[in-house]
């Protein structure tokens, strides 16, 4: 059976004046999968998901969510979508609990049901003790969790998470990750953006890497690593002598110099890598698993974007 696409974009374009933020991209998100949008600042990730959540009308192209057009059927789409935005927009005039109850009202959820769900969601994100606490008195990690809970108040089929763990401590990040996994198990379709490659690797079934408004690569994280980097990366100090040795012994290797270290990528390196390791271990050579960050930096470059 073919997987069923929940979100479909064709030639999706967004322009702000003369600036093209999203440049004719095509993508699909399938039911029950977690798709991650990766990309440097300004790549067009947030603009793309703003179009999916129907708050930003596309300039051109076609975008459907659950078969509904984002322009014509925004209300129906919003009804089944949960959004956890990048910015904290919790209502500072209310307590944690009331934030959820008031938000439930916008979805036309009856009061008794709204109370029940709010209690349950506070439990889900481990904030039951903070039920009567005003937003100002929550830590940033608690606020992120409450935003996640709020995004779930309408029992969404599609969940949009814009940088869900930016600025959080490791404990808070792991809690959010656990919750996202639980939701995935409940067949919720999840679209997230992140700057953390470990987050994308852990959570996403598939990632789309964007740069300058275009999709430059997409696929399963593990497959992308294998395709672009290989299994392992060797790092040695940036000395002329070491560099010459590697170039002689291992001419097909790709070298990249970063912060006075040389990174060596190769498709089938084991044997050669072991030889280099033995020779330069005492001078700080290390071997590590290739990761998504290597892929990301290789594809988008190391130049700062802002």
């Amino acid at each position: 059976m073919n997987p069923e696409p929940v979100i479909e974009a064709r030639g999706l374009t967004k322009k702000f004046g003369d600036f093209t933020a999203v440049d004719a991209i095509d993508f699909q998100v399938f039911r029950g999968e977690c798709l991650g949008f990766l990309g440097p600042n300004g790549a067009g990730k947030t603009t793309t998901i703003n179009m999916v959540q129907c708050v930003s009308p596309p300039t051109a192209g076609r975008l459907t969510v659950a078969g509904l057009d984002v322009g014509r059927e925004a209300r129906a789409i919003k009804k089944m979508t949960g959004v956890a935005p990048q910015e904290d927009n919790l209502d500072p005039d209310f307590t944690s609990f009331h934030n959820l109850v008031v938000y439930a009202r916008y979805f036309d959820i009856p009061k008794a049901e709204a109370y029940r769900r709010s209690e349950e969601l506070l439990r889900f994100v481990q904030l039951s003790e903070k039920k009567k606490v005003r937003i100002d008195n929550l830590s940033s990690g608690m606020k992120r969790r409450l935003i996640l809970a709020r995004a779930l108040i309408n029992e969404p089929k599609i969940l949009i998470l814009d940088e869900p763990t930016t600025g959080l401590d490791p404990q808070a990040r792991h809690l959010i990750w656990d919750k996202v996994r639980e939701l995935k198990n409940q067949e919720v379709t999840i679209v997230l953006t992140t700057h953390y490659m470990d987050e994308a690797y852990r959570l996403c079934d598939r990632t789309i890497i964007m740069d300058n408004g275009k999709i430059i690569e997409q696929g399963i994280p593990r497959a992308l690593i294998k395709k672009h980097i290989g299994a392992e990366v060797l790092e040695v100090p940036d000395h002329e002598e070491i560099k010459q040795y590697i170039k002689k012994e291992f001419p097909e290797a790709q070298l990249e110099t970063v912060n006075e270290r040389i990174q060596v990528f190769s498709a089938q390196p084991r044997g050669v890598f072991n030889r280099i390791m033995d020779k330069f271990k005492s001078r700080g050579a290390i071997m590590r698993d290739a990761n998504l960050e290597d892929v990301f930096l290789k594809l988008t470059g190391r130049r700062l974007r802002e």
């Binding site: 708050v55 919003k78 935005p85 927009n89 009202r105 979805f107």
Partner: protein
């Protein structure tokens, strides 16, 4: 700006009962602090009636044939309609829109931006209703009401509230920052407060200013109507005032929503 762009500012908004969900959010916040919210509309008219009505009134000859305190009392209800709705939909709405991102949070739900702005304006009108009714109660307590028509003041305050809230929302849609509200506040609202027949009859003003007050100042018409209802003195001029308000209100209401869409839909 091209003709098409100007016309797009007058497109009829699609509103559903969801405007009341937005209204209700603001009402809930109001009720959390209701005790402090009642202080201004209770204290201000007391001070004006005692200070200006009794104090200054001793030196002022009757205006339009009315004792000075009788003359200003109905105007105070109209002034409170203006201030409460105007400030609700300038400073308070701007804080919700810009600093609290409340609008962003709401439009991620089935409630549309049009409905958010509609709800905000409706709430501004409700503030006008609440505050001016309290002022009216003070005026009644001072024994300054002489006609049962005063019962029409609350519905009038809601209508006038929609008008001022809509005008306020137009400024909110174009203001670059919260400090810039000083322009409409001091160049429009404060002159209106003084020159709309509130504390002296506008026939005392130079011809040009009189005309200006009638054409540009909604408060002139609100004061005119409020005074007639409180003292029970009806004349054909009231129809002009009512017509002015009935035409301006839907115009600014629609304009406010479209200007806000232009600001926020990106």
């Amino acid at each position: 700006m091209s003709r098409v762009k100007i016309l797009s500012l007058l497109v009829r908004p699609e509103l559903t009962r969801r405007v009341f969900m937005v209204w209700r959010r603001n009402f809930d916040v109001f009720m959390k602090t209701y005790k402090t919210n009642f202080i201004p509309p209770l204290v201000e008219p007391l001070l004006y009636l005692v200070g200006m009505g009794y104090g200054l009134g001793g030196f002022v000859r009757p205006q339009e044939g009315l004792r000075y305190i009788v003359f200003i009392a109905p105007a105070l209800t109209a002034v409170s309609m203006m201030y409460s709705s105007f400030f609700e939909c300038t400073y308070a709405s701007f804080v919700r829109m810009y600093y609290q991102k409340t609008f962003d949070a709401i439009i991620a739900t089935p409630v549309s931006l049009e409905e958010v702005i509609g709800g905000e304006i409706l709430w501004g009108a409700t503030k006008s209703l609440i505050n001016s009714t309290i002022v009216l109660a003070v005026v009644i307590a001072f024994g300054l009401v002489s006609s049962p028509l005063f019962l029409l003041i609350p519905p009038l305050s809601f209508l006038v509230g929609i008008l001022f809230a809509s005008i306020a929302m137009c400024f909110t849609a174009v203001t670059p920052n919260i400090d810039s509200f000083n322009y409409p506040s001091f160049l429009y609202i404060t002159p209106m407060f003084i020159l709309s027949g509130t504390f002296f009859t506008i026939t005392g003003l130079p011809q040009g200013l009189q005309l200006l007050a009638k054409i540009l100042f909604p408060l002139t018409h609100a004061v005119n109507l409020a005074r007639s209802l409180v003292i029970g003195r009806l004349n054909s001029g009231l129809l002009v005032s009512l017509a002015w308000i009935l035409i301006a209100t839907p115009f600014f209401f629609v304009l406010a929503i479209n200007l806000m869409k232009r600001r926020l839909v990106k």
